[in-house]
């Protein structure tokens, strides 16, 4: 693999908005250019129609909605009232805090464990490499719904695996998901124990593209394997690491499935997260305007990370 695995980042050469052909400023020529290329527009048409209806309009609408009190006939413009409500409500603050804690623990853990695991895997032969890669990626292709269902059982108070294993050490049964002091941590532990399959695959691909001559030179200087790892491997994997950190941070801010399948945000609001709160506000309480404002705030948070990702990666090309 010679190419660095990169995120969805366009190549530099497309960056400039070139004006095509010689139609510059000449309406007649422009019309001619459009007519000559009618087939290109036809090829684009299906995507453009779908995109407009189900992406573009909803995106704009989401912003409009956040300034409205939604009614089926004649929505009312309410200015920043929804946003004020968002920031004044305890529910949002708690959801934000929970989501942050979830992210701050699970993202570094996931990325570091992916780095360590892929380093170990990379030492092995070809067959064992692909075997372990598959073993760690398989849970990633399985629906989170399924994984959440099993974990809910593993956390069961009476006959779950966790309490059984704790019993070996004489630690009393813990009501993992049933009490607010442990529920969020139970979800965090679960996330940490699901291998970061995407990370492992991308790290392995990047490690394969590091030139062996670097290691050879280091060996000549008598550097130990561990030193080689610290001083060569890790620095050269930095772009991949950054990409993975941002990818999983963005993903982590959207955590939802585990919540609704395992705790429903409870007990109380101990495991409430941003997306689950949006879901509840919008589709249980049908407060569309408020849910819209919550979504916009979530969007801004994620956008910050996306922009960082975009910049960092573009500099590396």
């Amino acid at each position: 693999m010679t190419q660095m695995p990169m995120g969805a980042v366009p190549k530099k050469k497309d960056e400039k908005l070139k004006v095509i052909g010689k139609s510059n400023g000449n309406p007649k020529k422009l019309f001619y250019e459009v007519k000559r290329n009618y087939s290109a527009y036809l090829f684009l048409l299906p995507k453009l129609i779908l995109f407009t209806l189900f992406v573009a309009i909803p995106v704009v609408w989401a912003f409009v909605l956040s300034f409205q009190k939604y009614k089926i006939f004649g929505s009312e413009f309410v200015g920043f009232a929804n946003y004020i409500k968002v920031f004044e409500s305890d529910a949002f603050r708690i959801a934000l805090k929970n989501t942050l804690l979830f992210t701050v623990v699970t993202v570094p853990f996931g990325v570091i464990s992916a780095l360590v695991l892929s380093t170990l895997i990379f030492e092995l032969g070809k067959v064992s490499q692909s075997l372990f890669r598959s073993a760690f990626y398989l849970p990633t292709v399985t629906s989170m719904v399924i994984i959440a269902m099993v974990w809910r059982w593993m956390y069961n108070y009476d006959f779950g695996l966790f309490n059984y294993v704790l019993g070996w050490f004489g630690v009393g049964p813990v009501n993992w998901l049933g009490q607010s002091s442990t529920a969020l941590w139970a979800l965090i532990i679960m996330q940490c124990l699901i291998p970061f399959g995407v990370g492992i695959i991308m790290y392995l691909a990047s490690m394969g593209s590091i030139s062996q001559s670097l290691y050879e030179a280091a060996r000549m200087d008598g550097a130990s394997r561990f030193k080689q790892w610290i001083h060569i491997t890790i620095p050269l994997l930095k772009p991949t690491t950054l990409y993975l950190v941002l990818l999983s941070t963005i993903g982590s801010f959207q955590v939802f499935t585990q919540i609704i399948m395992m705790t429903g945000g409870g007990p109380g609001s101990a495991t409430e997260t941003l997306v689950h709160l949006i879901y509840k506000t919008g589709f249980r309480d049908f407060e569309f305007g408020l849910a819209g404002a919550q979504s916009v705030v979530l969007f801004v948070i994620i956008l910050i990370f996306s922009v960082i990702q975009f910049r960092v990666l573009r500099h590396d090309e």
Partner: protein
């Protein structure tokens, strides 16, 4: 060029460590299958009451039907040797009971619940969306990569800029939109928004760049129409990209959950993840049944993964994947 190989002991240690981690990571999946086949009711001659191994403490790590089946099989053979026909029949009956009980929840799922329908819905929606995406996105990606026409860059940038917007942001407006179009609680409410995802346009455009212009030129010289060129020259060359995109689309649609639970209300229309949720909500007690449902939902993805593994790797390293 060669890495210095590790000595055997170190290799063994690494192998052992990785095996432990792999077991931990695969344990939940193993648990699904093991529990779905767990014996939920068993009573031998010397037991006062039937026992269930599904929620026993300590938990049983493998389907208990397997050792018990062989136990009865052995005893049936001994009884046959001793000429005790009654005893032999008892053990034969027990063997039948063990088999039918172990696989019983799968039968129940399809008989008493709509799992058959959910499975069909999931398959057909995933297939329709995948085929649709492959066609629509490769058409768009092709002209965006290979044709020069006014507005090309503008269109591309508008489409790409929405890649950064998480799906949850448009949840509410999309809900209203789908309602206004009269699509609520239909499969169109899932299919159309899925077909609008933009990741594929980006991926296909990157891929189409690598197709040499000379080939397209040659096709044009031969008098092939635009569509014919696309169909017979471009698409075959883009096959690896199409495979990667197809697999990720299938996986995303198969596992999609948040949007389907919002727009679907009728059990007959559910996809598997939505169905599983209602099953869990309604059926707290029967873990065996739940895990059988989970197994039914997991198996197709596992098969797809095993068959197309290398495209997963390719797709991941080609461009980031949207969860």
């Amino acid at each position: 060029m060669k890495k210095k190989p590790l000595d055997r002991l170190n290799k063994l240690i690494i192998f052992g460590l990785l095996t432990v981690f792999a077991v931990v990571s695969l344990l939940p999946l193993y648990w699904v299958f093991s529990t779905s086949l767990q014996l939920s009711s068993y009573q031998s001659q010397d037991m006062e009451r039937p026992v269930s191994y599904v929620d026993s403490n300590p938990p049983k790590m493998y389907p208990m039907g397997i050792p018990l089946y062989f136990k009865h099989w052995g005893e049936a053979r001994e009884a046959a040797k001793a000429g005790d026909a009654k005893e032999e029949e008892y053990h034969r009956d027990m063997m039948d009971h063990i088999v039918s009980n172990s696989f019983g929840s799968f039968k129940n799922l399809f008989k008493k619940h709509d799992v058959g329908k959910w499975f069909f819905n999931s398959i057909y929606i995933a297939v329709v969306v995948t085929i649709g995406i492959l066609l629509i996105d490769s058409m768009a990606g092709y002209v965006l990569a290979k044709k020069k026409f006014p507005g090309r860059n503008l269109i591309f940038w508008i489409i790409i800029s929405t890649m950064m917007i998480p799906g949850q942001v448009t949840l509410v407006p999309l809900f209203i939109m789908v309602g206004n179009l009269g699509l609520m609680d239909t499969h169109w409410a899932l299919i159309l928004p899925d077909l609008s995802m933009v990741f594929g346009v980006f991926l296909m455009r990157q891929f189409m760049y690598s197709i040499p212009d000379e080939l397209l030129e040659a096709a044009r010289m031969d008098g092939a129409s635009e569509w014919r060129t696309f169909w017979t020259v471009v698409l075959p060359l883009a096959r690896p990209g199409l495979a990667a995109l197809g697999i990720f689309t299938f996986m995303n649609v198969w596992n999609s959950f948040l949007w389907p639970i919002i727009v679907l209300n009728t059990s007959e229309l559910y996809t598997l993840p939505v169905g599983l949720k209602t099953l869990q909500d309604a059926n707290l007690a029967s873990f065996k049944l739940l895990m059988s449902g989970a197994a039914v939902a997991a198996i197709p993805m596992i098969i797809v993964f095993i068959l197309f593994q290398r495209y997963f790797v390719k797709g991941l390293t080609l461009g980031g994947v949207k969860e």
